[in-house]
Amino acid sequence: MKSLYLHVNPITCAGHGLCAELLPEAVRLDDWGYPMVDPSPVSPRILGHARRAVAACPTLAFALRATPVRRLISPRVDEAGENDKSH
């Protein structure tokens, strides 16, 4: 079976915290109530719970996708993934 990964859209996420409530196995809240998500593939054991947590997100910011969460290979980030900024 194909691995699935949890994603958070940081712009639409408003920190309701339902994801951490429904899926404590993979989500923990930071000091301000925003989710910190386990980047590893979702274990089949909790996949059902993950789907329910995704469905419960009031701002549709929580998602399950077949692509892993990684630092984006943006033209601003070099191959080593080091962060920098232009402007």
Binding site: Y34, P75, R76, D84, S86, H87
Partner: protein, 433 residues
Amino acid sequence: MDLAVRGGVLGSPRLLAGPGRDITESLAPHLDRLGDPLGAVGTTSPRELIQRIRASGLRGRGGGGFPVGEKLAAVAAGAGVGNRAIVVANASESEPASAKDRFLLSVRPHLVIDGIEVAARAVGARQAYICVSQRSEQAVFALRQALLERREARLLPVPVEVVLAAPTFVGGDETALLSWIAGGAPSPTVVPPLPAHKGLTGHPTLVQNAESLAHLALIARFGPDWFRRVGTEEEPGTMLVTVSGCVTSAGVYETPIGANLEDILEASGWSVETEVILVGGYFGSWVSRQDAGVKALSRASLASCGASPGAGVILAMPKTACGVKETAEVVDWLAAESSGQCGPCVHGLSAVAACLTRLASPASARRADLGRLLRWCTEIEGRGACRHPDGVIKLVRSCLQVFGPEVEAHRSGRCFGSYEGWLPLPATTQQVR
């Protein structure tokens, strides 16, 4: 007042070559000196042109150092009939301690325009923009004048529209820039999609720093082998750096990549009082004077002390200043410059700023604050839509590392320096509003 008051060179200049380093070169002398860039490119196919840029090893000069040829190839691959690529030159230069893009536009505007035209040819664009900082009237004037000259001389096959950059720090981010050009707020968007795949109005968009485009124009003329004659194997060419702080000759210098950091500071007349150097800008790192003696201005050399050349900011600070206080002021400013979209950035950075400010003073430094700060750094990193939080965290980490003894001193009630305001802090976006 603007930083860019004068230009200097180490070794033989390329971008700043030609007569009168501090005056605007108009079209006629530019053509006499270098000829028509597209004429030089001749019948070279876009594919060959991109191959030439790839072979040159040119990396972006905006801070990220991404290979320019790869980016061109990605944009060209996504473009096609009915889905034309767009070229955007980024000269928004919102980094407060940088002035090199504005300086380049003020003195060699045609070189940047050449780069835009060559890049447009390479990716098949028929539309181009240049987003320029409002901080230098001279740069905006020189650019507009240069575009007028070229239109009259019919040397502007792809029209270039000038857009004044948003007066915000985050506005220089690629996705924020595109949102701003499209008429929206200068706020970053979630990637993917990358601008190279789906940028302005959904078209594949090449966003390239102004200096990178000027180098690109010279590579198109003189070839990749010529370009590689200067610089290092991994990072060929020259780069523009903005040197400021406790130096007698602050300004924009063109230097080969791989030049000794100390030589650059020597050329700009650094003070014997210099204790530390901020390298790379506000998303950069502090480098001790001792390290500056042995480090070269290259990603490879600076990586060993956690730094990188970034967009070429080099700021010298004397030992009378307290590095923690100076950094805390900048972090506070950067926190306020968040575009306000992502929770970890909005709340996290303001908490980080407050924590670092407490550690900056013997009156308020608490043991628990250091542990808390380090935990927040780990937790916040990578959780914004753009890299604003990551850049700030990088600066905070560097501060804790290089000024560790100062933080310790503050915790035991002592302080060896004071706040002297070496790092420029423009009015924040909130104040502008």
